[in-house]
């Protein structure tokens, strides 16, 4: 026996409740700020191109993670807000592990003209469909409602 005594009385206090609640304000970063400020004005995305490895990084970055070179102002390019579904899944559970009110199609979407991708929700009338390889476009909030976060992309839908 590791201890001199163990808990044997199930009516004694057993648990103590607590939390680590706090609220977070994440600045979108130098690259992120540029991306989202652009998205507030236009219906297209921005991406960044690394001079060394020639990859078009998306979401855009201030540096290339592989080459570790800074990305210059001149290497920001505009790309369309469309893409191809690489992978998708039908999520049925919410974060508490309970059934969601309605299942959601979550997809990893390769953004056109880039080497990057974006997670997104696909809205469709037909949930049983195979979305792999399908072309989709981002549906954005009305311009006067955009706030400069990923929430400005409401969802993706098949073209």
């Amino acid at each position: 026996m590791t201890f001199g005594q163990k808990q044997t009385d199930p009516t004694s206090p057993m648990h103590w409740r607590g939390d680590m609640q706090a609220d977070y304000m994440y600045p979108n970063g130098v690259a992120g700020d540029k991306f989202f400020k652009h998205l507030m004005q236009r219906d297209t995305f921005l991406a960044t191109k690394c001079d060394k490895c020639k990859k078009v990084l998306f979401p855009p970055r201030m540096y290339c993670e592989d080459c570790f070179e800074e990305i210059l102002e001149s290497n920001w390019i505009e790309v369309p807000s469309t893409g191809t579904v690489r992978l998708f899944t039908i999520a049925t559970l919410n974060a508490h592990g309970e059934k969601m009110q309605e299942p959601k199609i979550v997809a990893l979407i390769d953004i056109d003209q880039t080497n990057g991708a974006l997670l997104g929700i696909i809205r469709s009338n037909d949930i049983t469909k195979d979305f792999s390889g399908k072309k989709v476009k981002a549906i954005l909030r009305p311009k006067d409602n955009r706030e400069g976060t990923l929430k400005d992309i409401l969802y993706f839908e098949e073209i």
Partner: protein
């Protein structure tokens, strides 16, 4: 090299953001409120301690090898790494080990009437053994290290098995 005599680090990269830039949305940012809740198991020692508080008692535990009375109690002694097992009821008196006069509350907001808070070194334990609590029925000018104090308990029907079953410690 000549330039080594210059300031170092040679430059300080980073983009300063003022609080007003956030308020006025000059920079974009993302908001998130995580849901982070726990329900920690108490185990025998803490369960017994909280039961004791509910009954108006301070419960400690004895380590026979180290000849040490430990409060708050635990199931093992951190000095000899052996198990502890003999429960001891301690008096609710002690001396002020150290204290602070706080003009800030938990969220760093200013308050007018300061909180007197500190560590009580309980009687019947080795020196410097006790727990943190509030002090009351004394002014910020009267409180001092080494002062003898006694617990003021909540009425029995309001106690719920928490450290706050003791309202505060008052001068003895």
């Amino acid at each position: 090299m000549a330039d080594e005599k210059k300031d170092w680090p040679p430059y300080a990269p980073g983009t300063y953001v003022r609080e007003s830039d956030i308020r006025e949305k000059k920079i974009t940012y993302t908001w998130w409120e995580p849901e982070v809740q726990y329900s920690w198991s108490l185990g025998p020692a803490m369960s017994k301690f909280l039961q004791g508080l509910k009954a108006g008692k301070i419960i400690g535990i004895h380590c026979k090898r180290c000849k040490r009375v430990i409060v708050p109690p635990r199931m093992f002694c951190e000095y000899c790494y052996g198990p502890t097992d003999e429960w001891i009821e301690l008096p609710d008196t002690g001396i002020i080990e150290t204290f602070s006069i706080s003009y800030l509350d938990a969220d760093a907001r200013r308050i007018e009437v300061p909180i007197l808070v500190g560590v009580v070194d309980l009687d019947g334990t080795p020196p410097h053994h006790g727990f943190m609590h509030y002090f009351g029925e004394m002014s910020k000018d009267e409180i001092k290290i080494g002062m003898k104090v006694k617990a003021v308990w909540k009425p029995e029907n309001e106690r719920e098995g928490s450290i706050t079953d003791i309202k505060y410690f008052k001068p003895l």
